[in-house]
Amino acid sequence: MSSIKIKIKKETKDKIVEICNSFNNSPKELINILHKTQDFLGYLPAEAQEVIAEQVKVPTAKVYGIVSFYSFFTMIPKGKHPISVCMGTACYVRGAEKVLDEFKHLLNIKVGETDSAGKFSLASLRCVGACGLAPVALIGGKVYGRLAPDDIKKILSEYDDCECQR
């Protein structure tokens, strides 16, 4: 397999190659390689997957198959402030759906999308383990608990001042 048209920067490619090397380019380590690459890039663009496939000597389809299988891996760059609304059962029965709807409404994006400014991205996840605070949402690393739809506008406004250019 020859590399087709790789649009990522040379330094980025070198870094991915380095990650693959650190796992001896072993196909058994694909999941760990993808974890490390996503830690580094924030997401897994198609081009990065091509580099990995070439390095580990498996078809790109196999790499893509793994990326698309696991919900932890994403091909869309996250916003500067990634929002995750917990949709675990405990949060669900305490009204998480309404909270999620309010985020969708205010940001005008769907789950899995990033807003046009690259400021916020929205995801739902399954159980943060903070069920005592249900319903819960995470923005970046910060946990917001006992949420009601009315709170969301104010919470988003906490991020008004920051200069969010990707």
Partner: protein, 597 residues
């Protein structure tokens, strides 16, 4: 270790960390330093206390004082009053909801009185990042004993006789599992810990790993010795950063003391543990899928046999146990199988950890003896239903389980009884629902989860569950018919009989159990086009009761779509064509003038 007069234990579980427990610890330490008490008072971060509802928790030893909902600014008062003057800070003590009395220690709290902590014995007592504290509570003594006896079969027999069954959901006898793996000869075997806790609303394994990681390592080494494995692998969710960090620290500390690695305690037995990260796939809780994921593939299950005990990780005999199962092992060895098997019911021995959550007063992590009734769990430990509402159902077993209704409140909880009642033990999620939960919507919620998490390998699960979801969606929109209900039932049975793996075979359970227990509610949706719980938007409408409306206009001002009109001080009216059923007017009205039909 120096002799501290006081130990202040601060909860370091995920819930309490999210509500500022690290800041509480920092403020306490600052105040201790200001008062020159650093030699007398020690602040320790522990694992989860379980009482997440009232977090962050701060406990003071030796007097066992239990402070709830502590804030960083309370540190000053705790040090000044409690530590220096010896007076308890009354306003931070737990208030018993029944007697309205303040309880000063956990032993007198309803939440803890009915509990029996075996798997969670160290959570909330020790600093999980310090191996000495684990050793001080008999840690690694069981491993030493097993290695000294040097008879794997004898240890396997102890586990078999104890009656311990797998706590991950299946309930397979652990001792038997070890025996099978021990009898398959191979040059390399693997002891695998399944820490891919994927149930939405369950956090038992995470709390054990965060609060007492060494117990899992010790039990894995014991298991490794019994089946003849020199390698242990822990498959853990990447979404659990704190648990991962604590495991890494624990593994490092155990290696330094020679409790992991070559020639453990001079016994000639070598055992080491590596971590593998999951990447978010519910199906990876199924053991064959998990093994494929560990090998760097999509986590798709394969048909059994061959079982992992015959052909597991890298085609070598492997034994897979869940975190909570492991957490029971060292205690059983030290206290004996007779003690363990004296707890519980005929075929379910010991205790079970549940993540109690939902519409209940005391959300938290609990460990109870098998055979306790749901009523005791919900009303005595859980403190009853939130807001004084009526109990409707409790969901156990996660997406593979089912709902139990009022008639099962006095059934003793064990593997067999839950199965007979149409649910299952599962990994230990226990979600309590009140009268405002629509059971069709709950079934739809779980099916949505299953559709997203189905690996797609077999068509009954991939296609069948999608159809089930669509049918449920149709019903919640008020477009369902009686025929749809029959179709739901038949399709569910087909999926149960034909899906490839455990996930697929149990996926229709939420549908079947809600149909069995709440048939009337389904009928109300399809025949009367009403949602009795008032949750399905398409099936409800908001109305103003002219007798109660005083015309204050609050509803009209808050309505986001301008659907409410009326003269001042005259009864208002809702324009049903404009109403988006958001419920804002219902929540804002102070005169109970708005009702749902």
């Amino acid at each position: 270790m120096s002799n501290y007069k006081y130990h202040i234990l601060v909860c370091g579980g995920t819930g309490c960390v999210a509500s500022q427990s690290p800041q509480i610890k920092a403020s306490l330490e600052q105040k201790i330093a200001e008062h020159n008490l650093t030699n007398d008072v020690q602040v320790v971060t522990t694992g989860c206390f379980g009482f997440c509802e009232k977090g962050p928790i701060v406990k003071i030893l030796p007097d066992n004082t239990f402070y709830t909902q502590v804030k960083p600014e309370d540190a000053n008062e705790i040090i000044n009053e409690h530590i220096i003057k010896g007076r308890k800070v009354t306003r931070l003590l737990y208030i018993d909801p029944k007697s309205s009395e303040r309880k000063s220690d956990s032993k007198h709290m309803g939440f803890y009185q009915k509990q029996l902590r075996i798997a969670l014995r160290n959570c909330g007592f020790i600093n999980p990042e310090n191996i000495d504290e684990y050793i001080a509570r008999d840690g690694y003594a069981a491993l030493a004993q097993v290695l000294e006896t040097n008879d794997p079969q004898q240890t396997i027999d102890i586990i078999k006789k104890s009656g311990l069954r797998g706590r991950g959901g299946g309930g397979f006898p652990t001792g038997l599992k070890w025996e099978i793996a021990s009898k398959n000869p191979a040059d390399q075997k693997y002891m695998i810990c399944n820490a891919d806790e994927g149930d939405p609303g369950a956090f038992m394994d995470r709390s054990i790993l965060e609060g007492d990681p060494h117990t899992v390592l010790e039990a894995m080494a014991i298991g490794g010795f019994c089946i003849g494995a020199s390698k242990g692998l822990i498959y853990i969710r990447a979404e659990y950063p704190l648990a991962i960090r604590r495991l890494e620290i624990a593994i490092k500390q155990a290696r330094e003391l020679g409790l992991l690695g070559e020639n453990i305690l001079n016994s000639g037995f070598s055992f080491d543990i590596e971590l593998y990260y999951g990447a978010g796939a519910f199906v990876c809780g199924e053991e064959t899928a998990m093994i494929h994921s560990m090998e760097g593939n999509r986590g798709e299950p394969t048909f059994k046999p061959p079982f992992p005990a015959q052909e597991g990780y890298l085609k070598k005999p492997s034994n897979v146990n869940n975190v909570e199962t492991f957490a029971n092992i060292p205690v059983i060895i030290l206290k004996g199988w007779e003690w363990f098997s004296s707890i519980g019911t005929k075929n379910s021995k010991g205790t079970k950890v549940f993540a109690l959550a939902g519409q209940i007063n005391n959300v938290g992590l609990i460990e109870v003896p098998m055979g306790i009734t749901l009523r005791e769990v919900i009303y005595e430990i859980g403190g009853g239903i939130k807001g004084g509402k009526k109990f409707k159902a409790v969901q156990t077993g996660g997406p593979s389980g089912g709902c139990l209704t009022e008639k099962f409140l006095d059934t003793p909880i064990d593997y067999d009884n839950l199965l007979a009642a149409g649910s299952m033990m599962g990994s230990g999620g226990m979600i309590v629902m009140d009268e405002t939960s629509c059971m069709v919507s709950v079934a739809k919620f779980y099916l949505d989860f299953i559709v997203e998490e189905s690996c797609g390998k077999c068509s009954p699960c991939r296609v069948g569950n999608k159809r089930l979801y669509e049918l449920l969606d149709k019903i919640t929109l008020g477009k369902g018919t009686i025929d749809d209900l029959n179709l739901l039932k038949n399709l569910s049975k087909v999926i149960k009989d034909t899906a490839l793996c455990g996930l697929g075979q149990t996926s229709p359970n939420p549908v079947l159990s809600t149909i069995d227990n709440f048939w009337d509610e389904y009928l109300a949706h399809v025949v009367d086009h009403k949602c009795p719980a008032g949750q399905c938007k398409a099936l409800k409408s908001y109305h103003i009761d002219p007798d109660n409306c005083i015309g204050c206009g609050v509803c009209a001002r808050n309505c986001p779509v301008g659907a409410i009109k009326g003269e001042k001080k005259m009864p208002h009216e809702i324009n049903q064509a404009l109403c988006i059923k958001c419920g804002t007017c219902y929540e804002k009205c102070k005169f109970n003038a708005i009702f749902i039909k």
